[in-house]
Subunit: 417 residues, 2 copies
């Protein structure tokens, strides 16, 4: 086995633990410097490969690479850039192979969700036909938790923990105030198509909190929703509502698109939370507060789940180990072997079975009335939020790392993306 370089890129929306996967890739590669000379990272994801903007990770100290494990977001930059199909833009795939060839790259580690799994799969196919074989390994990452085969996706567990803890804390707050003031708290969470993150809010029900969840999987029924909130407030004195950004009316229109216009007549997308909160106020008269977590939820490394951090690292590490053992066109996967006590091991999924397959939340995870989660869902979710893995702090702030991100000298002509 000759010495080759590896290429690593981060794709799509970043997470609290995608850098832990990067850490797993780079630290493991460094342990095998007889086989992997350097890990080049794509500056701003796959675009960095197309434009030949490679980052020389060998210039980072062992301490800096280790600090990736506790640093949120994408240390090398990510991008939202879906490569077109082979038919529509073969030139892009060929360019990738040219860059890999020019920099002696034999391993392609692509860290992302469904789209990047598809790209990764195509690269593995094309590189063979182009006579420069590259081992393409997809490292799973997505807060949406929608990749197939793997039991869960690194990134999701930490968002789930953040939403569960934040919803619990805010519920304690509204419970304190409910007698004379706020009776309804609404928190908006990510999830345009899948309710995995919203479901995590349901974990606070077992702590005695009345919670109503709005899933993208369930068509919004205003009358039933108002009745449910009224019932909760009459019984408990208050209610917490967790609303997915993707919650929509039967005609498919998102709640957030209420035809709201500002004073200049411009359409304004204001979020689902204020829409839901105002709706309750109008129908029931309850005072409300609302929050939109947005990036805070997926960047919250300060509250990451230890399970998630461990798994993110393990996926990066396994990616390199599988590659060194000769694997190609695969994705390391998390295989749950036991619920109680929770146990998992690293599996291996062929990319042909991962690309273009979206795993939906099972309908048996949603309670019959559509506003809560079932025992089966809790059994699935609880292990994923286990454990705390705090970053180190300095002067009251987390000591996150910013890398040098030194450029590798270019060897090819420029390329427009």
């Amino acid at each position: 086995m000759s010495v080759k370089n590896a290429f690593y890129a981060q794709s799509g929306g970043v997470t609290a633990v995608i850098n832990a996967s990067a850490c797993g890739v780079i630290e493991t590669a460094r342990q095998h410097s007889d086989k992997i000379a350097n890990v080049y990272a794509g500056r701003n994801g796959i675009i960095g490969a197309l434009t030949e903007e490679l980052i020389d990770t060998n210039q980072e100290s062992a301490e800096a690479i280790a600090a990736l494990r506790h640093t949120p977001s994408g240390a090398f930059g990510s991008c939202r850039y879906k490569m077109k199909s082979l038919e529509d833009n073969k030139r892009e795939y060929e360019r990738l192979i040219e860059v890999f060839k020019a920099h002696d790259i034999g391993y392609f580690f692509y860290n992302g969700g469904g789209d990047s799994a598809d790209t990764c799969y195509k690269v593995s196919q094309l590189s063979e036909t182009m006579g420069f074989p590259v081992q393409a390994i997809h490292i799973p990452k997505t807060v949406d938790n929608d990749l197939p085969i793997t039991d869960n996706c690194p990134g999701f567990g930490s968002v789930a923990k953040y939403i569960a803890v934040s919803s619990l804390e805010a519920s304690y707050d509204v419970r304190s105030m409910a007698a004379t003031s706020t009776k309804v708290f609404v928190i908006e969470v990510m999830g345009r198509h899948a309710g995995w993150i919203a479901a995590a809010g349901g974990l606070i029900e077992d702590q005695g909190i009345p919670v109503v969840i709005l899933f993208p999987e369930v068509e919004f029924d205003k009358a039933a929703f108002i009745a449910k909130c009224k019932d909760r407030v009459e019984k408990f004195g208050y209610v917490t509502v967790v609303v997915s950004e993707g919650t929509h009316w039967p005609d498919g229109k998102f709640l957030a698109e209420q035809g709201t216009r500002d004073s200049f007549g411009h359409a304004q997308l204001g979020g689902a939370a204020p829409v839901v909160a105002n709706m309750i106020k109008e129908e029931l008269g309850y005072k409300f507060h609302w929050a939109v977590a947005d990036y805070l939820q997926r960047a919250a490394r300060h509250l990451a789940a230890k399970t998630d951090v461990d798994q993110a690292y393990a996926m990066g590490k396994a990616g390199v180990e599988f590659a060194l053992a000769g694997a190609n066109s695969i994705m390391p996967a998390i295989i749950r072997t036991s619920n109680s006590p929770y146990a998992w091991e690293v599996g291996k999924a062929p990319l042909s079975e991962v690309a273009n397959v979206e795993k939906m939340m099972p309908m048996e995870y949603i309670s019959e009335d559509g506003f809560g989660i079932t025992a089966a869902c809790k059994e699935y979710l609880l292990p994923l939020i286990q454990g705390e893995d705090y970053p180190p702090y300095q002067d009251g702030m987390p000591a996150y790392v910013t890398l040098k991100n030194a450029a590798v000298a270019k060897k090819l002509d420029a390329f427009e993306v």
Copy 2:
């Protein structure tokens, strides 16, 4: 000194550490059971005193009371209820004294902000003229940080830490995405009249993050704001905006009140963050994300500052100790004795100098262009976010306590509030 009971109540918006003050009051009182027989807590704040709904804290175990130190929000319930002036509603003050008399209450510990300091002051005055002297002690609490004399207010430091850390994490996120996607992140924070909380967002500047702050103290200048954001994005590739909910136009109208109307023509209050984000999009075309932290920021016990927790506890403890030493009509205060290393001690402020005095943020804490904080401001803020004080976790969730809150038998006729 005869044995008396004490009365403790939580007032106004709750915080991540107001229960730590309650813990300080009750634990210290228990150490002096020869002087304080029981601490009765007001169910839902001062309303519980007026309606004689007292909670018997002697029925709580030592473990439960100790757990208050790490539990956010108001364990006995709080309320937004400002007692009228003595002239307008003397009957309410007299009722308070009647309840105190009926339950042999010689100590009144009122845990709140400016309004409750005023109530506390009046009770101390009236009780004497009514011939049933009660020692009235105000325990400082407010995320608004606007009480005089005390260097800072318990509750503020933890919100400041939450906003600083959350803004840092979200900034790492937008930095990762900026090359091809989101370039602007806007976070809305509490502070209708004072920019203390927004100022905490400025602490991330020293970590290399381009941040633009909108304070309620500075009239909103749209052209200057847009120019500042443009400059930051052109220099850094992205920008983080921290906007106070109280940011307003020169005519006093809040940014959040944009005359926005939903499809039914109803006025809708949508938050300052989406207004600001849409404004940047319209003027500069940058893709944005926005978050509204709302209750999450003041309930976030999972990220409390150790300094804040220690001070909240110390204020409760000192309140009881001052009372036992004979003090009346005072508030324990935090006195900063050194910036570096940070050191503080417990002082004592007469309520006559606390009631109806609001401490504003000094204008020399705001940078010349109005969009940032000065070195003096950082020097003031940094010690307040020092240290971490994590709650214990069980099965992935914080182990917060919910008390029994057993009722004390009533002795008086009903009273309408």
